[in-house]
Amino acid sequence: MSPAVGQPIPRKEGRAKVTGRARFAAEYPIRGVVHAIPVLSTISRGRISSIDTAAAQAAPGVLAVLTHLNAPKLPYRPFERPLETSTRVGVFFKPLRDDVIRFNRQYVAVVVATTLEQAEAAAALVRVSYAPLRAISSFEEGLSAAHQPREKGSRGLPYQRGDPELAFAAAAVRVDQRYTIPTEHHNPLETHATIAVWNGNQLTLYDKSQWVKGVQQHAALAFGIPYDQVRVLSPFVGGAFGSALRPWAHIDLAAMAAQVVKRPVKLSLTREAMYGTTGFRPETRMRVRLGANASGTLTAVMHEAWGQTSTYEEYTENTLDATRLMYAVPNLSTVPRLVPMHVSTPQYMRGPGEATGMFALETALDELAVALRMDPVALRIKNEPLADPESKLPWSLRSYVQTMQLGAERFGWARRTPAVGSMKDGGLLIGMGMAGATYPALRFPTSARIRMNLSGSVTVLSAATDIGPGTYTSMAQVAADAVGLDVALVNVELADSKLPYAHAQGASALFASLSPAVREAGRQLARQLAARAVADQRSPLYGLKAETLTAVNGGLSGAGKRESYAALMARSDAPLEVHLTSAPPMSAPKQSTHCFGSHFVEVSVDPDVLEVRVRRVVSAFGVGRVVNPRTAHSQAVGGIIGGIGMALHEQTHTDPRYGRIMNANLSEYLIPVHADVPPIEAVYLDEVDYAIGPLGAKGLGELPIVGVAAAISNAVYHATGKRVRDLPITIEKLL
C-alpha cells in the first residue's frame, strides 16, 4: 500500500460540489426563516440626523426595522483571552450602536421581512438624513496624518541593520523609485451570509467563515453568553481569501434581528454591501531605494510603506517583512507608516503584506538589473543569503535559487534577449519577466479527533474549515496513512465549532497546524487497536506483541497473521476515539522557516492599442512536501491568476470627493476571466522540510500570488520600455 500523502487524490467533496449539493451558509433550509436586508450609509463621515422608518415599517411583510434608536444594545463583553489572529489596535466596529458614520456603506438600519423581496423593497423605503462632516477620502489627504503604527510587532516597528543611508549614498548603482498598489477587494464569489437561529439562549450560526471558533467567540462575547451556547457551522465556504477570517458586523445584525423577531433570520450581503463591510487589501504606497556595487552585490536596501487603515482601528500588514530576509544585504531599513482614512478597516487578503511589498522590491530589483546590465536571475542568485539576514537563524530549507533554476529551464529563459523591445511575434511586442516569491511557513496549536467506526472506517473531526484548498482531502490522506487504510474509507467532518479547536484557515498555516494532530491521533488510534487485538483471544493476532504489528491495508498484520479493522471493530460495542492537540514547540525557533518560489512570465503588448496579454506563466515553488499534486496545482494556479488580476485588472475606485466606492460590483471591479488566463505551469521542487511538521510540508495558499505582479510588470518593461510602478498596468499607463 503506497502512502496516500503525495497522491493526486480527487477531492473528497468533489461530487457534492459538482452536483450543487454542497450547502453554503445561506443555503440551509431552516423552517420559518425570514430575511434581513441592511441599509447602508451614503456618506463617509458624520452623524445620522434623522431616520424615518415609518414607510418601511408599514410595508407588506415587514417584521422589524432596526436602527441605532431601537436596536438592542449588545453587551460586547471584552476579550479575556483573545483568539483573534490579528493584533489590530483600536476598537472594532459594532453595528447600530450610535449615530456616528465612520465609513461609506456602513450599516445604518436593518429591515426584517417575511420574504426576501419584501425585505429588499422595504429597505429602499428607509429614509436617512445625515449631518455630514468632511471625510478623508483620498490617500493624499490621509498622508498628512500618516503615522507610525502603534503595533509593536515586527510589522509595526521600523527596522534597521547597518547604515543604509550611508551605503546608499556610496553605492555605484542606485535605484530610488515609488510603487503603489490600489485598494483591492477580496470578492469571493459567495457573498458573506449568516443564518442566525436562536433556541432559547442557544445561538446557531450558519456562517461563511474561515474560522468557526473565532466566530463562536465573537458571538458569545457580543451577546454575553457562554461560548458553549453558540454553535457555528461553515462546512463549505465559497471562497474568502482572507475576508472570512474576521467575524464581521453582519453576524451581529443577523443574530440581533433573530432575537428581536423571534424567528430564524437569514442575512445575505449583497455584492455592493461587501465593498463597505467585509474588508479589503489596503492601498499602499512604497518607496524603495537599492544600492549596489558595479558587480551587482547589494549594499543598501531601504523600503518604506504607507498603508491605508481606518480611523477606528489600525490595520498593519507584513508589507516589509519579506524585504528583510529576501537578499543578503548588510545595510537595510524598513519603515512602516499608516494612513488613516474614513474607510472601514482593511483585512488580510491573499498574501497580505508580502504580495504588496514584493511587488515593489521585485520590480525595483529588475530596475537594478537593467541599470547593471545584468540578468535578473543572476542578480538574485548573486545576493542569496546563507542564513536569514534578519534573525541570523539558519534556513530550515531555502530553495529560492533552485526554484529560479528550475523555473528558468522550464520557461526557456535562456531564449530571452535582454534588450527592451527586442522580441517580437508578428506585430506584437513580446516581453519576458521574472520575480521571486516568499511567504513564512507557520504553524499554530490545533486539535483533531479521530474515530474508528464499527464498520472499520475512520472519521476525522476538526473545527477547521476548507475554503477551497482541499482540507477535506488532504486530512483524509494524512489519516489514511496514519491508521493504515484506504483513503476512501476516511470521512472528514470539518467546520463545526462543536468539533475540536482549530486555528483559522489563514496565513497558509492550516495544513501544517492540523496535519500533525490528525497524524498523531491516527497513530495512537492504530496503537490502541493493536493493544486491543493482541489482548483479545478471538483475534488472530492474539498473543503477539502489539508494537510488532503493522497498521496497513485497513488492518493490522504481524507474524504472518492479519486482522482487518472491520473484523476487529465487529467485536466492539463502541467506536474508538482519540482526541489530540498538536502545537509547535514553545521554545524559541532554531531555524527560519519560509517557502520560496519564482515566476517567469511572457507577455505580449500590441504596439497600436497597448493591450497587455499574459501569454504563459511558469512558476516554480519550494514548499516542502506536496501532499496532493492535484489540489496543490489548483492552489498554485489560482494564486498566479490572482496575481494576474493584481497586475492587470484589479482596482477599487473611490470618489475622492465623497469617499464612495464607484465600482462596488463585479462588472466594473475587474477580475481575471477565462479569456485572460493563458497556459500556466506550476512546478515544485522535490523536497521535504521537517522544520514545522512531521509531514515535511509547508503551505501553498499565499505564496503563488506573491511576486506575480512584479514578474508581469517586469515583462511589460522588457516588451515596451515602460516601467509601470503603480498597479494595475492599464493601457493609459503605457501611452
Binding site: G14, R15, A26, P29, L189, G238, R271, T631
Partner: protein, 230 residues
C-alpha cells in the same frame, strides 16, 4: 413550526452524504400545472400588473396559454407554473421574485448560486428551454410554463454528467461556488458549437467568473468532454 426545527439542531451535511429527511426543501409538487395568471388577466390588481408588465415586455412574447385567474391567492401573489428538472411546480410568487431567488428560496434548489445578482458573473447559469441564461436577470413570471434545468438536474440519478465527472478529474474548482454555473456553461459551450479551440472556449466561458482561479482545470474539463463527443 419553527420551534420544531429549533429543537433539533441540524447536523452538518457530510460532503457526500444524503440530506436528512427534514432538510428536504418544502415544495409543493403537482403533476398538473396550477391555473395561471398572466398579465392582462382581468382580476390582476394594478400593482401586480405593473410589476409584471414592467418586469419585461418579453413576457408578452411567451407562447399564449389559456388565461385563467386564481381566486384564492392574495392579489399580490402571482401563480406560476415552472417545470424544473422535469418536475412541475405550482408556485404563488411575489412578481418581483427572480428566477434565481425562486430556485434558491422557494424550491430549495441552492445549487444555482447567487454572487453578483446583476448578470456579471454567471454563477446562476441555468437552462430555460435548453438555452443558458443568468437566472438572476430573469423574473420567474417571465418563464411561466417553461422548462428550467439546474445543476441538480444535470446528472442522471447517481450517474454524473460527463462534464461533472470531468470537473472532478481536472479539479476544475476549489471552493465550489462558481462550479454549478461553470458546468452549466461548459455543457452549453460545446452544444452551441463554441468549443473549437482553446481560445474559443475561453471566450465563450468568459461570462463565468472564478475567483479561486480554476480556469486552467475548467478548460481541460471542457476539452475532455468535447473530445469524448458526449
Amino acid at each position: 413550526m419553527a420551534k420544531n426545527v429549533l429543537s433539533r439542531l441540524p447536523e452538518i451535511q457530510l460532503p457526500d452524504g444524503q440530506l436528512p429527511e427534514w432538510e428536504q426543501p418544502v415544495v409543493t409538487e403537482k403533476s398538473e400545472p396550477e391555473p395561471v395568471v398572466r398579465p392582462g388577466s382581468p382580476d390582476l390588481s394594478r400593482r401586480t400588473f405593473v410589476a409584471v408588465s414592467t418586469a419585461l415586455g418579453a413576457a408578452m412574447l411567451l407562447p399564449a396559454a389559456p388565461a385563467q385567474v386564481t381566486t384564492d391567492a392574495p392579489p399580490e401573489l402571482v401563480s406560476v407554473a415552472l417545470k424544473v428538472n422535469g418536475k412541475t411546480h405550482a408556485l404563488k410568487l411575489d412578481p418581483r421574485t427572480s428566477l434565481l431567488d425562486t430556485l434558491r428560496e422557494h424550491l430549495g434548489l441552492t445549487g444555482t448560486k447567487k454572487t453578483c445578482n446583476q448578470g456579471a458573473c454567471g454563477a446562476c447559469t441555468v437552462y430555460v428551454d435548453g438555452v443558458r441564461i443568468n437566472a438572476c436577470l430573469a423574473l420567474t413570471v417571465m418563464h411561466d410554463g417553461q422548462s428550467v434545468t439546474t445543476i441538480e438536474g444535470l446528472a442522471q440519478g447517481d450517474a454524473l454528467h460527463p462534464m461533472q465527472a470531468s470537473f472532478i478529474v481536472h479539479d476544475g474548482f476549489q471552493c465550489g461556488y462558481c462550479t454549478s454555473g461553470q458546468i452549466m456553461s461548459g455543457v452549453s459551450v460545446i452544444k452551441e458549437g463554441h468549443a473549437g479551440s482553446d481560445a474559443e472556449i475561453r471566450e465563450w466561458m468568459s461570462g463565468n467568473l472564478c475567483r479561486c482561479g480554476c480556469y486552467v482545470g475548467i478548460l481541460a474539463a471542457v476539452k475532455e468532454v468535447r473530445d469524448a463527443g458526449v
